[in-house]
C-alpha cells in the first residue's frame, strides 16, 4: 500500500524531498515538459483507434483495447485546458496505473485503475535527485495545484512533476461538483 500523497503546498521537509526523488518519465504537452514516476507507467504506445464513450467530459476521449482489457483514455491537453491538437505520429499514449478515490454511492474507496493518457510525445527517463527538485512556487492568486509534486530543473529546463493519482482524484471531485451543482 504505497500511495504517494502530495504534501500540502506550504509544508517543507526533507523527508518529502526524498519521497519525490527517483526515476521519472518525461513527456511534452505544448511548450511545457512534464514528468511522472516511472513506477506508475505500465507501457507506452503510439496513438491508436479510440472508441468514444458518450456523456463523459471532453477530456475523456473514450476507451481502447489493451490486450483484451478495456481501459479509459484521457487527453491530458484537454484536461489541462490546452487547445486541442490533431494527433501526429509523435503522439503517444502512456498507460499508467493510478490509485483513484472512487466515490460510489455513500462510501469512497481507493481502487487501482489503468488509464491511457494522450500526450504530445515522450522524451526520456530521468533520475531525479532530491537536490534537483523544488517546491511549486506559490502563485498567490489562489491557484490550487494539488497534483503537482514539484518542479525539477535539469539542464536549465523546468520539468513539472505530476502526481498522476491526484490529477484524476481531482477529476472525481470535479464530476461530483458538476453533478451536485456546487462549486465554481
Amino acid at each position: 500500500m504505497n500511495t504517494l500523497t502530495a504534501p500540502p503546498p506550504t509544508s517543507i521537509g526533507s523527508q518529502k524531498q526524498d519521497q519525490r526523488s527517483g526515476k521519472y518519465l518525461t513527456f511534452g504537452l505544448g511548450k511545457e515538459e512534464f514528468a511522472i514516476q516511472v513506477l506508475r507507467v505500465r507501457e507506452i504506445m503510439g496513438i491508436q483507434e479510440i472508441t468514444a464513450v458518450p456523456q463523459t467530459p471532453a477530456y475523456v476521449k473514450g476507451v481502447l483495447n489493451l490486450r483484451g482489457k478495456v481501459i479509459p483514455v484521457v487527453d491530458l491537453r484537454l484536461k489541462f485546458g490546452l487547445p486541442e491538437l490533431e494527433y501526429t505520429q509523435r503522439t503517444c499514449i502512456i498507460v499508467a496505473q493510478i490509485v483513484a478515490q472512487i466515490v460510489a454511492q455513500i462510501e469512497s474507496r481507493a481502487e487501482k485503475l489503468m488509464i491511457g493518457i494522450i500526450v504530445d510525445g515522450v522524451s526520456e527517463v530521468l533520475t531525479l535527485q532530491a537536490a534537483d527538485i523544488e517546491d511549486t512556487p506559490d502563485f498567490g492568486n489562489g491557484v490550487e495545484t494539488p497534483y503537482i509534486l514539484g518542479m525539477a530543473k535539469i539542464k536549465s529546463k523546468v520539468k513539472i512533476l505530476l502526481d498522476i493519482n491526484r490529477v484524476f482524484t481531482a477529476q472525481e471531485v470535479e464530476r461530483l461538483e458538476v453533478v451536485t451543482g456546487s462549486g465554481a
Partner: protein, 622 residues
C-alpha cells in the same frame, strides 16, 4: 449468581485491546490474513453444523464438527496472540466438550449462545481485517459479557433447568441474550416428569421469561472472501484458487477465442486454403471452444451455498417474530456463475425476509384459518430452457391486491379509476418506497427491499415474476441468464461507431416505409410496426454521433423490448452478429446511461454494449 459486566473475569487472560504484542509472529500480515481466511471458513461450517444441530440436537457428528472448528480457531488465535478470539473459542469449546461427553444437553438456548459466539468471532475477523488495512493492528477487545454468558451455560443450575425441555423446531420465545439463563426463575422440577408434562411446563413458564429483545442477527457477511468456490462440500478433490486469477483466466480465454476467430477468418487465408491448414484451423477452433467451455464452468458454483445463508436468516427471523417456519430447499446443486450468486445474495435475503415478516402468519392465525401452524418457505433452483430459474415461495397470506392498489393510488402510482390487471398490481410492489406494511419493523416495512430485488435482477439481465393467491401464499420466480460474461449481440453501426445490441432484447428488425413514421408535437417520433405505434429512439442523438442516414426510412429500426415495453432503436446498418465477452468500462464510466459495458470486436476495436433500459429510460425523462 448475578454477573455484572464490570466485574473483570481474569480466567481468560484477557490482554488490553491494542497492546503491542511481544510476539513478532503475531504482527505478520500474511499469517494474520491466513488466520482470518481460515477462521472464516471454519465459522461458515460451524454455522451450518449448528443449524443441523438445531434440528437434531443429538447429532454427535455435528457436535464434533463444531468442536473441531472452535478448537482450530482457538489454536490459531493463541498462536497469534488474538486473545479475545481465543478466549471465546475456548469457552465454547468447553461447553461443547461437556456436550459430547453427555454432560450437557443441547437446547435452543445453547445453540443461540454458540451462534452468538460465532457472530462475535465473525465480527472480530472483520475488525481485524479493517484494522490491518489502516496499517496499525488493533486486536478486538475481549468481550467479557459474552464470555460470562457462555460460561453460564455449563453452570449446574442452568443445566438442570435446560435439560428435559425437549428442543422444538418451533422456537420458544428466546432466552435473553445478555442475562444468564439462570436469572430466569425456573422451578426445580425432578427429572422424573413425563415429557408432555415438561412441555406444558416450559410453555407456561416461558411467557414469564424476562422480556429482552434479541438483536436480529445480520446475515453473516459473505465468508467466501477471496477464495474461489472451487472447493466442493461433497468431498471431491479440490484446490483453492484466488478468484482474481480465475477471472483473469476466463477473460483471457475469451480473448483467445476471438483471436483464434480472427486468424480463422483472415482474408489472406481465404484464398486457396490448403487442406492441411484447413484441418489444423478447425482443430484449433474446436480446442479453443472446449477450453472456453471449461474456463466458464470453473466460475460456476452450486447455488446451495446461497440457500444455506437463508437458513440462518429464517431461523432468526421466525424466532424473533414468534412464528414457526420450515425452510425447504431444492436444487441446491444447480450451478450458477459465481458473480450471479454473489449478486443474488441480497435480493434473496430481502424476499425471504418479506415472506417471513409479511407473508407468513402467526401460528394462531394459521390454525384459525385451517392451516398447519408451521409455515413453509421453499427455495428451488433449476435450469430451464437455457436459463436459471429460482423460485422463492411461501404458504402464507398471499399478496393483498386491494391493499396494494389502495396504497398505489395513495402514492399516485396509479390513477384512481384505473383498472390494472392482477399482474400489474403485483408488479407495483417493486416500486421504490412502496410498502403496504402498517408498521415499520426494524426488519422490513420501509419499502426498500423489493425495489432492490428488482434492480438486482435487472442488473443480472433477468426477470422476476410474481404469483400469489390470497390465503394460500406467494411465489416469486426469478429467471436469469446462465452466464454474465458472454453475450450474444447484434453489431450495428451508427456513423463510424459500432455498438452491440444484446440479442435477448431484440424482437425484430425492419427498414420502415416512410409512411409508417409519424411525430408527436414535433418532438417525439413513432413508428407503426405490425399495427402498434412504438416510440422511436435515435441512437445517434442519444450518443452525439453523426449518422450516415438522417431519415428513419433510410435507416434500420431494431424493435427492442425493455422492462415489458417495446420501442424502436434507429441505427444506420446491421454489421453482423457476434458473441462477445463483456468488459467492464471501469468505475469511472459505470453510470453512463445507455452503456452497459464494452466488448472487443472482431477487428480488435472496442464496441460499446448498449443498455436498452438506460436508453429507453433516458428518453422518458426528457
Amino acid at each position: 449468581m448475578a454477573i455484572e459486566s464490570e466485574k473483570k473475569e481474569t480466567s481468560g487472560g484477557a490482554s488490553p485491546a491494542g497492546s503491542a504484542s511481544l510476539n513478532p509472529l503475531a504482527a505478520d500480515p500474511e499469517l494474520l490474513n491466513d488466520f482470518i481466511l481460515e477462521s472464516r471458513e471454519h465459522l461458515t461450517s460451524i454455522e451450518l453444523q449448528l443449524l443441523t444441530l438445531d434440528q437434531d440436537p443429538d447429532n454427535a457428528e455435528a457436535i464434533h464438527a463444531i468442536f473441531r472448528g472452535f478448537h482450530t480457531i482457538k489454536g490459531m488465535a493463541g498462536f497469534l496472540d488474538q486473545d479475545a478470539v481465543r478466549d471465546v473459542a475456548h469457552e465454547v469449546e468447553t461447553v461443547l466438550d461437556l456436550a459430547r461427553n453427555g454432560q450437557l444437553t443441547i437446547t435452543p438456548a445453547v445453540i443461540d449462545r454458540i451462534l452468538e459466539s460465532k457472530d462475535y468471532l465473525t465480527r472480530c475477523m472483520g475488525e481485524l481485517e479493517s484494522s490491518m488495512q489502516t496499517g496499525t493492528l488493533v486486536s478486538p477487545a475481549p468481550n467479557v459479557v459474552l464470555l460470562a454468558a457462555i460460561r453460564s451455560l455449563s453452570a449446574p443450575e442452568a443445566e438442570a433447568a435446560a435439560a428435559g425441555a425437549p428442543p422444538e423446531a418451533a422456537p420458544l420465545p428466546e432466552t435473553p441474550a445478555v442475562l444468564p439463563v439462570d436469572a430466569v426463575p425456573l422451578p426445580r422440577e425432578p427429572v422424573v416428569f413425563a415429557t408432555e408434562g415438561l412441555v406444558e411446563l416450559a410453555r407456561e413458564v416461558s411467557p414469564q421469561a424476562a422480556e429482552v429483545s434479541v438483536e436480529p442477527s445480520t446475515p453473516p457477511e459473505s465468508t467466501e472472501g477471496p477464495r474461489a468456490g472451487a472447493a466442493r462440500p461433497t468431498g471431491a478433490r479440490s484446490i483453492k484458487v484466488d478468484t482474481t486469477k480465475l477471472d483473469y483466466l476466463v477473460d483471457m480465454v475469451g480473448e483467445m477465442v476471438i483471436a483464434q476467430s480472427l486468424v480463422r477468418h483472415d482474408p489472406d487465408l481465404a484464398i486457396g486454403v490448403k487442406p492441411r491448414l484447413g484441418r489444423n484451423l478447425s482443430q484449433l477452433a474446436r480446442i479453443t471452444d472446449e477450453v472456453q467451455r471449461t474456463a466458464m464452468s470453473m466460475r460456476m458454483i452450486p447455488v446451495g451455498q446461497l440457500f444455506q445463508k437463508t437458513a440462518r436468516l429464517v431461523r432468526d427471523l421466525s424466532r424473533k417474530a414468534s412464528k414457526q417456519v420450515d425452510l425447504e430447499l431444492f436444487g441446491e446443486d444447480t450451478e450458477l456463475d459465481r458473480n450471479i450468486v454473489e449478486d443474488l445474495a441480497d435480493p434473496l435475503m430481502h424476499m425471504v425476509r418479506n415472506s417471513v415478516d409479511h407473508g407468513i402468519e402467526t401460528p394462531d392465525e394459521r390454525t384459525r384459518n385451517g392451516k398447519s401452524p408451521t409455515a413453509r418457505v421453499t427455495l428451488k433452483a433449476g435450469h430451464q430452457a437455457g436459463q436459471i430459474v429460482i423460485q422463492v415461495s411461501d404458504d402464507g397470506r398471499g399478496l393483498n391486491q386491494t391493499k396494494i392498489l389502495r396504497k398505489a393510488i395513495e402514492k399516485g402510482l396509479v390513477s384512481a379509476d384505473a383498472q390494472p390487471s392482477e399482474n400489474e398490481i403485483f408488479n407495483l410492489i417493486f416500486h421504490p418506497g412502496f410498502s403496504t406494511a402498517d408498521q415499520i419493523t426494524d426488519v422490513s416495512g420501509r419499502g426498500v427491499g423489493m425495489d432492490v430485488v428488482r434492480k438486482s435482477v435487472l442488473k443480472l439481465r433477468g426477470r422476476i415474476d410474481v404469483m400469489s393467491r390470497p390465503g394460500e401464499g406467494t411465489t416469486f420466480l426469478l429467471k436469469l441468464p446462465l452466464t454474465l460474461a458472454i453475450i450474444d449481440g447484434l453489431v450495428v453501426g451508427v456513423g463510424g461507431q459500432r455498438y452491440i445490441v444484446p440479442i435477448f432484447a431484440v424482437r425484430e428488425m425492419l427498414k420502415p416505409p416512410e409512411e409508417s413514421i409519424s411525430t408527436l408535437q414535433g418532438r417525439q417520433e413513432m413508428a407503426m410496426v405490425r399495427g402498434s405505434l412504438l416510440p422511436l429512439v435515435r441512437l445517434h442523438q442519444r450518443f452525439g454521433v453523426k449518422p450516415r442516414f438522417e431519415n428513419p426510412w433510410d435507416s434500420l429500426l431494431i424493435v427492442s423490448e425493455s422492462g415489458g415495453r417495446h420501442f424502436c432503436l434507429m441505427v444506420d446498418e446491421l454489421i453482423g452478429k457476434q458473441e462477445v465477452v463483456i468488459k467492464s468500462l471501469g468505475e469511472t464510466m459505470a453510470n453512463i446511461a445507455g452503456v452497459a459495458g464494452g466488448a472487443i470486436l472482431g477487428d480488435g476495436r472496442v464496441g460499446l454494449i448498449l443498455d436498452l433500459e438506460g436508453l429507453f429510460g433516458a428518453r422518458n425523462s426528457e
